[in-house]
Structures are given as C-alpha cells and as structure tokens.
Amino acid sequence: MARQLDTHSCSTEEHDEPAATLAGPVRHVPRAREPLDDEESNTSGLASVLVFFIVLGSIVAFRKPLSGYLDSPDVQLWGTIFVSLVVQAIPFLALGVVVSAAIAVFVPPHFFHKVLPKRQALAVPVAGLAGVALPGCECGSVPIAGGLVRRGVAPGVAFTFLLAAPALNPVVLAATAVAFSGTPEMVVARAVASALAAMAMGWLWLGWGRPEWIKMPARANVDGAPKWLAFFATMRHDFISAGGFLVVGAVAAAFLKVVVPAQWLNVLADNPLLAVLAMAVLAVILSLCSEADAFVAASLSQFSLSSRLVFLVVGPMIDLKLFAMQVGTFGRSFAFRFGPATFVVAMAVSAAVGWVLL
C-alpha cells in the first residue's frame, strides 16, 4: 500500500470527543461526511479519474452542438457574472490557501496559545485587529479562519477574524475612501461598524456557540510527512473545498442577478426601515468582492448614506458565496446558524452606527 498525502480521520475516536475543537491543538476535527467504503476506494479512485476525463471530453465535444442553445442573452449574462465572480476570487483564494497551509504546517501547535490573550473574551478584539493585516477580500479569509480553528484557536476568536478581515484591511478602506471621497465619514463608519459587528459575533459565539456545530472535513494528516509535501497537500485540500463551495455561491449570485429586476430597489428606497433591509439583502445577493462594493454603494444614489453603510458592512461578512464557503469549511449545521446570526447582527450594528455617525 502506498503512502498517501491525505488520510481519513478516525471517526470513532473523534465522535467521542467533539470538544477537541475548543481545547488545545487539534489534529483531527469531526467530519461532516459519512465514512467511505474503504474496500472500494481503490477502484473508485480510478473510476473518478475516468469520470473526470469523460466529463472534460464531453464539455469539449458538446461545445459546437450546444452553442445554439446557450446564446440567449440571459444565459450569456449569467455566464459572464458567474465566471467573473470565480475568476476574480481565485487570486484571493490562492492567498488565503497559502496562509492557511502555512498555519497548518509551519506554525507550531502552541503558537496561538502563547500569542493570544488567555481570556478568550480579550482575544476577540485582538483577532479583530489582526484582520487589519490581511490585504484581501472575503474569499481568502474563510480558509484562513478554518486553518486557525484547526490550529487550536478558539472558534469565537477565529470567527471574529473571519468577519473583520474582509472589511477592515487597508486596501478595502482605501477603496471606500476613493468611492466616498466626498463623504469621508463613511470610511470611519464602515471601519467602526465592521469592527463592532465582528467582535459582537465573536462574543456571541463564546457565550452561546457550541463546538459540535462545527464539522470540518478531514484534512491532510501532516504528521510524519515532509513539510513541503504537507504544505502542498494542505493547499490542495483547502483550495478544492473552499473553491468548490465558492462556485455554488457564484452560481446562485449570478442567477439572481439575471432574474431579479433592478427596479425592485426603487420601491424600497423611500422607507428608511425597508431601505436598510433592502440594502442588507442586496449585499447578500450580489456577493461582491469587498474591494469593489464601495463603488457599487456609491452608485446606489437613491438610498440614504446609512442604508448604504449597511450594504458595506453586511456584504463582506455574509453573502451567498461566503455562506456556501462556510458550509464547505465549517459544515452545514454551523453555517445555517452562523450565517443568519451574522446577517442580523451586522445589519443592526451598522444601522445603529449609521444613525449616530452619518
């Protein structure tokens, strides 16, 4: 039997100790997927390679015959939005995957216990501040937060980082400053509201979150393997799992862009409460990169500044593609609780900050 880059975790061991995610460094985390049929894995490996080649072959073969059916404007618009969401995310995803693999392979297991404050409630704002240092947008922060949780960082602390990093980094704040150069208070309001909402979610998790909601897929067992190999295997795992789910989010976002008419927004712009809700929902639907959303917010001129602040705070924290990526990284029972809670908290905090500052 050959040595493999990746091993399945021992399900029996882990289901007995789900709390391992919270305590100290964890090597294995409970898996969401049911155990595979081990006897068949060899044949199924070959079979899936075969299926992959058949799929690729048919894509190329059907290119000509199908082209007549795929040239309707709606299909093409969907395709452009879908492909552009994925292409744009790839560099940021690659960055996130490199950082997350480096955390898994090169950071010593006890590192985060030493550098983070012992009291988790204090570690939350530290994680929020650390988010300032990641120059990217949300696609990269999901695998990094996953890597932090695997390395033994308390989930509440890692989630604060997950939510704060996309909105608080200098690149995004600079883009916001350019788009809103006439109203610089928007930059301050965005930074304050994003930091508050991210920390609120971190503390909420520390208070009420349950470790058993998090079910991360098994990842490379890096013990024993040479470090460079473990690094590559971890990158592959994280890219495939985060990237695959990113695709689901992008499919949905592109679909909604095609079927939902732009006019629905006009109806809601005049009522302040509905406007806040509309902007929050729009941020979720559009699934924009946090580096670009300020520019779209600037063009939504029929809406008040505070409702556009809600758009800028909710979008980097929760949208369709982020939600899908969280399902892939942390499991369904996590995402279905964390996503809606993030939506409500981000909307409430940003509406309050907007009311005070704008």
């Binding site: 050959a2 040595r3 493999q4 880059l5 975790s9 021992c10 595979l36 049929d37 068949e40 894995s41 060899n42 199924s44 490996g45 070959l46 079979a47 899936s48 390679v49 299926v51 992959f52 799929v55 082209s67 709606d74 395709g79 452009t80 939005i81 492909v83 292409v87 744009q88 560099p91 690659a94 490199v98 350019v178 150069s181 109203t183 897929p217 067992n221 590559f232 592959r236 795992h237 890219f239 799992s241 990237g243 695959g244 789910f245 695709v247 976002a253 592109a254 732009a262 006019q263 927004l265 006009n266 699934s287 924009l288 990169c289 670009a292 779209v296 600037a298 063009s299 001129s301 029929q302």
Partner: protein
C-alpha cells in the same frame, strides 16, 4: 463510488483550473471578466495552483507506481488502515462548473442586455466629487473623454466645462426604453459582477444602429436629459457631429 473524488482528480481539477486561468490572462480574455490590474495576480495564482496540482499528482503517481509495496505508515494503520486514492472533498466536482461555463458558453463582455437591466451610474462621480468642481478640459480640437467624465460634467454642472468644446466618446449601442438608442459603456471596479452602465443619449441623425455595435462619437454638450426608468437617475445627451463604427476596444470597460 461515483460521487467519490479521488486525490488524483482533485489534482487534475486544480491543473485544469490553473491552465485556464493562465491561458485567460495571457490572451486578454480575462478583460471580459475582471479589471486589467488583476492580471499579475491571476498569473501568480495560476502558477501556484499549477505547481500544487502537478506536485501532488506527480508524488501520488510516483508513490503508487514505485512504492506500492511500502508498508503503510503508523498513522494510516492506526487510523483506518485503508489504501491510497482515498477521497477528499467532493466539492472538486463543483469546480468543473466554471470550466464548463467558460468552454461551453464562452461568456462575452457585458453588453447592451446587461446595460438595459440596470440604471445608469453617473452618481458615482457625484459621490466622489460632491461639489462637482471639474478641471478645465485639456487643449486640442477634439478631447477624448471617458463616458463617466462626460456624463458627470454634463449632469452635475450642466456642461459648464464642456461649453463650446468638441469631445470624443467610445461606447456601444444599447436600446432606450420607448425607442431609440443610448451610447453606453460598462464601468468596472473589480469584476463584471460589480459593473454598472454609464448611458449617454445621442441627439442628431445617427442612422440605424444595432445593439452592441461599438462606435466612436464626436460631438458637443447639449442641454437635454432623460430619466433612467431603472433607478431614476438623469441620462445626459450629446449632440453628435460625427459617428463611426469601431471595433470593441482592447479594454471594453470604462475606467
């Protein structure tokens, strides 16, 4: 079986995705989907993903061909004792979707259909320059302007800095609700998902123009405005003195 994804396929998916990203960024196809500035990052991430795919695939093939008799490592045995080609995230199959979309649909640059679905976004300029103070146009007989620059000067200072000057705009044709056409260009910040149209009406005889035809228009500011039904913003006009059909520019998006 079936839904299981072997490690080998994961590496292969990565290699195909990386190859497409690299091919796209070297043939300028990426300009349909993302901002030109992103190209070096696309190339860098394409190389990285290719490397990861090739190294992991090569290592596993080498292992299964030449080290097939090696004893399973302690951790494998302790864990589940199963063999190579174990499965990984099934989401690998999902990454086939963008590959298929790219090859089968070959999605084009956003055009008149996308433009007619959303409202003109001239107010972006208002947000950046709320007092609407614009520098004087540069010297010259004909001044090339971006669509946003023209639309902003026309809308927010009623053409004060445009008075008496001949300007040149490049855009494509999109339909106007209730008949006629607009000169249009999509403006992009990061990727096509965040792009918004800038629309300018054309007064004067422009002949019959098909949607998505790219044109170069010369003309002067005229005090005439439409209201975009999609978002209630004003759409300025230009009085056309000459119009010629042109090829789609290398970078089809406005700033």
């Amino acid at each position: 079986m079936g839904v299981v994804v072997s490690k080998t396929v994961q590496s292969m998916v990565m290699i195909v995705v990386a190859a497409l990203v690299l091919q796209m960024s070297f043939t300028d196809v990426h300009l349909r989907y993302v901002k030109a500035d992103l190209q070096p990052y696309l190339v860098a991430s394409g190389i990285l993903l290719l490397l990861v795919g090739v190294v992991t695939l090569g290592y596993e093939m080498w292992q299964s061909l030449f080290v097939a008799e090696a004893k399973p490592s302690a951790s494998d045995a302790a864990c589940c004792g199963h063999s190579e080609n174990g499965s990984g995230p099934r989401s690998a199959w999902l990454l086939v979707l963008p590959i298929a979309a790219l090859v089968l649909i070959a999605p084009p640059t956003l055009g008149s259909y996308a433009a007619s679905k959303s409202g003109t976004a001239t107010s972006v300029a208002k947000q950046q320059n709320p007092r609407s103070i614009y520098p004087a146009l540069p010297e010259g007989d004909v001044v090339p302007l971006s669509m946003l620059d023209y639309a902003a000067r026309a809308t927010f200072e009623r053409g004060a800095s445009l008075a008496g000057r001949e300007v040149k705009l490049v855009g494509f044709i999109s339909p106007r609700e209730g008949g006629g056409v607009y000169l249009t260009r999509m403006m992009m910040m990061c990727c096509a998902a965040d792009s918004r149209p800038i629309k300018v009406g054309m007064s004067g005889d422009v002949g019959k123009l098909k949607s998505d035809q790219w044109v170069e228009v010369r003309g002067q500011y005229v005090n005439k405005f439409d209201t975009d039904p999609a978002n209630g913003e004003e759409i300025p006009y230009i009085k056309v003195s000459s119009l010629k059909r042109v090829e789609q520019p290398e970078n089809p998006y406005d700033i």
